[in-house]
Symmetry: C2
Subunit: 206 residues, 2 copies
DNA sequence: GTCTATACTTGGATAGAC
DNA sequence: GTCTATCCAAGTATAGAC
């Protein structure tokens, strides 16, 4: 509703840059302080700007947080798309997924999503919005799987849609667990296990 | 710190029953309103008692919420232990896990944990406490797996500890996703896929 | 478009009556 | 051990100056 005046010229006005700064600060605060700590005041403190700007540019804190989720999702999706592009087989897919996931974990990208998902219990208005932002990830995973599972003898056993859903769930769960004990090793071990499995699959498929 | 006077006789005084009522209300509120909605006042409203009792009996809201997590964890652990007791093979294990997980999802048992895990980002004091309460679940899963994977040709490929960690992560993630879109079907599909896999494993092992 | 000031609300927590 | 009353801190959101 409340929007800054970005003209039809498409140039980035000062207002648009401020919006970006606010979104960045929101992401950072969400990562380090969690949802309950991501108040307008805390976000403003993080970004070094005025608290009232949040409401001027985004109307409410929750709307800002959704914009923050949009921003991370977009950059992360681009990264994943790019990385998955050069993949030739299921083993490669696993290796690539392992690497990027390590990035995610270190940088806390998934945390933004996880925090907002948990918060959507308290703020039902968030739910629909978040569903719409999770769905592309399930679809992306499903498509990547479909491409590389075709012809595999496991294709009949495993519906890509289900596997994709499970993988997204696993990512979320690992993020939560890893953040809890500050231990990436176990997530790494899971990927290693998955990789061994993928290798096994391919030996059957050959 | 602040504790009600439960005497050495072990009988349940009125104070002890009130504690229980508060814990139950906390669980209920956490499930329906989420962490951000689980204020002392909201919990008191749910349980029909006075808000000040939370502080008298538990010192702070967060300490109450941890007590709530303890309570659900205990009853759920008992349920899982009981159900897994009669299991003879990996296929059974899957069937049983599927059934109880459906209960969890419907009743929102895991939600209590998921909400508190997300909140632990904001309240670091919660973290250590929650780690201690997650660990038994990983261990329980690991032990159940170890019992039924022995002798399987996959035992060398899959370290029970890693698989257990992955399963706990998967449970958490599925809970979050299922609550998001109010759709249990996909979680069911994942279990069904897992069951087909377990059957495949056993056909190899026989 | 950004800042200051402020109104309003909710929640944590305690004191003191019962 | 429970309730009423209250204090205080923090947060959302808006009005109005700049």
């Amino acid at each position: 509703m409340t929007k800054s005046g970005v003209g039809a010229r498409g140039g980035s006005t000062t207002g648009a840059r401020t919006r970006e700064r606010i979104v960045e600060a929101a992401i950072e605060t969400l990562k380090t302080e969690g949802f309950a700590g991501a108040s307008a005041r805390a976000i403003a403190r993080t970004g070094g700007f005025n608290q009232a700007l949040v409401f001027y540019h985004f109307g409410s804190v929750n709307e800002l947080l959704l914009a923050a989720l949009d921003a991370t999702s977009q950059t992360r999706m681009a990264r994943y798309r790019d990385a998955v592009d050069g993949v030739e087989n299921l083993g490669d897919l696993f290796r690539v997924a392992t690497e990027i996931y390590a990035e995610d974990l270190d940088a806390g990208h998934i945390k933004v999503l996880a925090e907002l998902m948990a918060a959507s219990t308290t703020f039902p208005q968030l739910r629909t919005e978040i569903v719409a932002r999770v769905e592309p990830w399930v679809r992306f995973t499903e498509e990547a799987l479909t491409r590389h599972m075709e012809g595999s003898p496991f294709a009949q056993l495993l519906a890509p849609k289900d596997v994709a859903y499970a993988i997204v769930a696993l990512y979320l769960g690992m993020e939560m667990l890893a953040n809890l004990d500050d231990n990436r090793d176990r997530a790494d071990a899971i990927f290693a296990t998955g990789a061994r499995f993928a290798a096994l699959f391919e030996s059957f498929g050959a």
